[in-house]
Amino acid sequence: MKSISKLIRRFVGIMALSTILFSILNIAFFGIVFVRNTSTFSPWDMAGYAAAALQLTDYGYSISDDVMAKLKEQNAWAILIDNDTRQVEWQTDNLPNNIPMQYTLSDIAELTRGYVDGYPTFTGKAQDGLLVLGYSKDRFWKHTRGSWDYNFIANLPKNIIIILAINTALIFLIYVAANTKMSRSIRPIMNGIQDLSSGSPVCIKQNGVLYELAEKINKTSEILQMQAEQLRKKETARANWIAGVSHDVRTPLSMIMGYAGQLENSKNLSETEQKKAAAIVKQSNRMKDLINDLNLASKLEYDMQPLTIKQENAISIVRQVVVDFMNMDIDDKFPIEWKTSPTLSVCYINADKDLLKRAIANLIQNSINHNENGCMIYASVDDDNNTCMICIEDSGIGVSDEQIDKLNNTPHYMVCDTNTTEQRHGLGLLIVKQIIKGHKGKILIDHSEYGGFKVALIIPK
């Protein structure tokens, strides 16, 4: 998944950035502490300084007042050990009592490196001896055995780099391990969310770090499924209601059509009365068509009419519909001309034969319904490489540009959630649209070159 790698990249970036930031902060902090806790002077320098300030006068050794003051300020004591006698020749007043007055060579080596009786000592070379400066016991910590293996120092840069590399690798391994666990918990949740968006039911295992999230997603899925189920039930109920009503109307309508049909041809009736009966037949026929259309449209709308798609010859389907109309049109008021190229006898498409027949019949019926004075109807099938175009046109009254725009773009009241008071087109064209949608095709409504209305159905092969 793209988003996971993006997430990991982000994590790595944040980690690198925070490592750099922490290093800088630590170094700065250490520096500050070091500066704060270290004297502004070095005790070795002080010892040298004091040694230089010690002068042998006629009255013995003496030290300048300002150096003396500095020593006192630092609470340090000092002695001068003579080079020859190794005895203390001079001392400050604050010399602790237990400081020896006589020193051997090894004592001097010891105090140079470390302590005298626990007092940290520092030496400076005086005129005829060694000046030893002592500080209070907790003033300094001395590194008495300061020596490093040469190789250790020589290899230090390399070793530092190796240690850093190992550290980085270790941190990365820990990160990967932690993240793998994380992404293992995240992955089912990501999949779950993707499934949610496609509407399929989701059930994620509720364990791992993100179990709460998994629980919430499962709950959301349940809610969505429940809502979809309720909507489906509602739609089924609506379609069933329409089917039920149309079923119940069929028998009474049969009676009306039956008797009116008989009266229409009854020789006992006058011509005016026969015409009235004919009008009843015509109108009840319209009602019959309306019921059938309403039923089919609602079934198609709520996906209750599954399409039986098979390979069919579009030419044969259109030809049958055209011939059915020609056989019905006894007074030849609506002659149909077959405009398909004579060389084209087969155009295979994947289609539901009955529904496609219904769509074409609706288009021809539309031309008949809207042209009471009769008109020519033109039917044609064209074979493009990947599509099949079925055209029904007429030479009738046609429609305005505005109406064409409306037919192409305004939803029918059956599938529209706004007001239904405005007059909209009949169910016939809605059914055609639904059927063509089911075939993944397109429908184009336009003016015909023959003067009237044109509808082209474009169906993929």
Partner: protein
């Protein structure tokens, strides 16, 4: 052609609604059918079937003591005659198509009297051949029982394909029959690609039935769509 003999056939009409029964009965009687019996349920229908030996049954699907499909099965046991269903349910459409229950035709309510009569006559014509089997054309006659054409006192035999094509055309006499239907009648279920053969056969049929085959009057072409057989007196 005289089809009066079909009007003498025994018809059994079954529907649970008395008013609809009365209406269909009046349509049939007005058209000239003389032997129509009615029944309102399965039991009555079986009794009538035993008494009157029907030659066509028109059944409603919904009956108070069962359904029309069961009734059809029971009727078919007692005699092999055509059955036409009248149904108010659009969904039955699929049933008839899908299961091939043995019904000869079905009409979905509401229907026009003309439509009902046309279907009934078509079924009867198919099921009961005329005792006098000659079909009169403008220049000749077809004798389906002998599979031959009689033109100018000459008997010309029909080939099997020509017979199939003429039968299909005659069943829909006066109406256009599509190229596809004709190819289907002669060559079976996958009839595409036989159009040239069909044209050749039509040409030979014309030579047999027409006085002037280049200007046919009985078997006319409807360009691009199909052919129409014009029968005298029809």
């Amino acid at each position: 052609m005289n089809e009066d003999y079909l009007l003498n056939k025994n018809i059994l009409l079954v529907d649970d609604e008395q008013e609809l029964l009365d209406m269909v009965l009046s349509i049939l009687i007005e058209y000239g059918f003389q032997n129509v019996k009615t029944a309102k349920n399965l039991k009555e229908a079986m009794e009538q079937a035993e008494k009157s030996r029907p030659e066509l049954a028109i059944l409603d699907v919904m009956l108070p003591d069962g359904n029309g499909f069961d009734l059809m099965e029971r009727l078919k046991k007692s005699g092999n005659y055509p059955i036409l269903f009248l149904t108010a349910r659009g969904e039955d459409d699929d049933k008839f198509k899908g299961f091939g229950l043995g019904a000869d035709d079905y009409i979905i309510k509401p229907f026009l009297p003309k439509e009902l009569l046309f279907r009934i006559m078509a079924i009867l014509r198919r099921s009961y051949k005329d005792e006098n089997p000659l079909v009169y054309l403008h220049d000749s006659q077809i004798d389906f029982s002998r599979a031959e054409i009689i033109k100018n006192d000459e008997h010309i035999p029909l080939t099997a394909k020509e017979y199939d094509l003429l039968s299909a055309l005659y069943r829909n006499a006066g109406r256009i029959v599509t190229i596809d239907t004709l190819c289907g009648a002669a060559w079976g279920n996958n009839p595409f690609g036989y159009e040239n053969s069909l044209m050749a056969h039509i040409h030979r049929i014309r030579e047999k039935i027409e006085q002037n085959p280049s200007q046919p009057v009985s078997l006319v072409t409807v360009r691009g769509l199909g052919y129409k057989l014009i029968v005298e007196g029809k």
